[in-house]
Symmetry: C2
Subunit: 204 residues, 2 copies
DNA sequence: GTCTATAGGTAGATAGAC
DNA sequence: GTCTATCTACCTATAGAC
């Protein structure tokens, strides 16, 4: 159920539009997703999009980036806290990501990645929105790694690396329809974290 | 100069169209790039696109993915061979990538990344083209790492990780307009490679 | 406030002059 | 084989009925 979903039953129209937009942007990107298609998937009349998002496609996209991006970050963090040992937890998180990806026919990965690459050089408002989300994720990841890696710079570098290698692994796994990239990504992150824990003096 | 460029002077029309398409797809993605814009940037008449690429936008895009993708792989490999020590070489390659990215206003990164995310769930022909290129890169990277890492599985995992963390770093650096993600990526790859060289028995 | 119809513009694709 | 004019379909956005 969406963020602003009603207590029970079907989410309200605005929420359905945002949820449908999130799924379509994730699969088809920004330019590849039409507002008519969003309205159809949300089972909402076309005019409702401009009723709830008077700023049009850009406003809807910005809210989608910020809402879905923040939710995705929380989901990954929660996933990392289901296993006690940090190295095992990281490896487990990538396996879970591979399970999800495979279960959705290699469609549902990061909700903002495709849009981020499309707008980075073409739409400053949306570019800043994606940058804010990535920055938020790095900060949250840095705090998580800081529990086991005392050096702040090392924790920050690990957070960057986790996000980057996950995004890259999603790209390769979606393109090749193969779990192997995600598995290799999880192994590498496990090595990096173990190295940072065992050898605090060396750069990571 | 483009792959089929003439011996001297201006490249031929077909090459100019492909080169323009490569740059536009890299910056704006597949759906975000119109054929009229490609013709304009190539300084070619619109009809020439269908003269040289009778299959239309999809054929032009597929050829662009395969040509620019293979060239980009060769370029990165060549960059890795400019420094003798492998760990230093990897770190140097990411610094060079950051220099290039910054010099182009955070626009010119991987030529197929944006298209790959857009078509992965929407266009099977183009999805396969991106998968073929990624697979080609992994194979080439595997051979490069095998020079210093005897275990084939470890070399393959390192190749996957290099490509994935580079793609992820491009995504974050373009979005945030900051070199830091690319720098962190280079440091992490250096740690991974050093770990694989020094501890051949552990997974990498 | 929900929804339909449509305007204005641009997309990919094609026909045909030269 | 180079180039222009145009077709149909779809896009975002808006006007206005209910």
């Amino acid at each position: 159920m969406g963020q602003h979903g009603q207590e029970q039953g079907r989410p309200d129209t605005r929420t359905r539009i945002q949820d449908a937009a999130t799924e379509l942007f994730r699969r088809n990107g920004y330019s590849g997703t039409g507002l008519k298609r969003i309205a159809a998937e949300a089972d909402a009349p076309f005019g409702s999009i401009y009723h709830f998002f008077p700023g049009g496609k850009q406003q809807l996209t910005e809210e989608t980036i910020r809402t879905a991006g923040a939710a995705y970050g929380r989901m990954v963090l929660a996933l990392l806290d289901t296993v006690a040992d940090p190295v095992e937890s990281v490896a487990h998180a990538f396996e879970a990501a591979a399970d999800d990806l495979e279960a959705t026919g290699y469609a549902d990965a990061c909700p903002i990645a495709a849009v981020a690459l499309e707008v980075a050089s073409t739409n400053e408002t949306l570019r800043v929105a994606t940058a804010d989300i990535f920055t938020e994720w790095v900060g949250a990841g840095e705090q998580w790694f800081a529990r086991w890696v005392p050096d702040p710079g090392a924790a920050r570098s690990l957070a960057h690396s986790l996000i980057m290698i996950l995004e890259g692994a999603f790209m390769l796994s979606r393109a090749t329809r193969d779990r192997e990239p995600l598995r290799a990504a999880g192994q590498s992150m496990a090595v990096l974290l173990r190295s940072a824990i065992e050898q605090p003096g060396r750069p990571s």
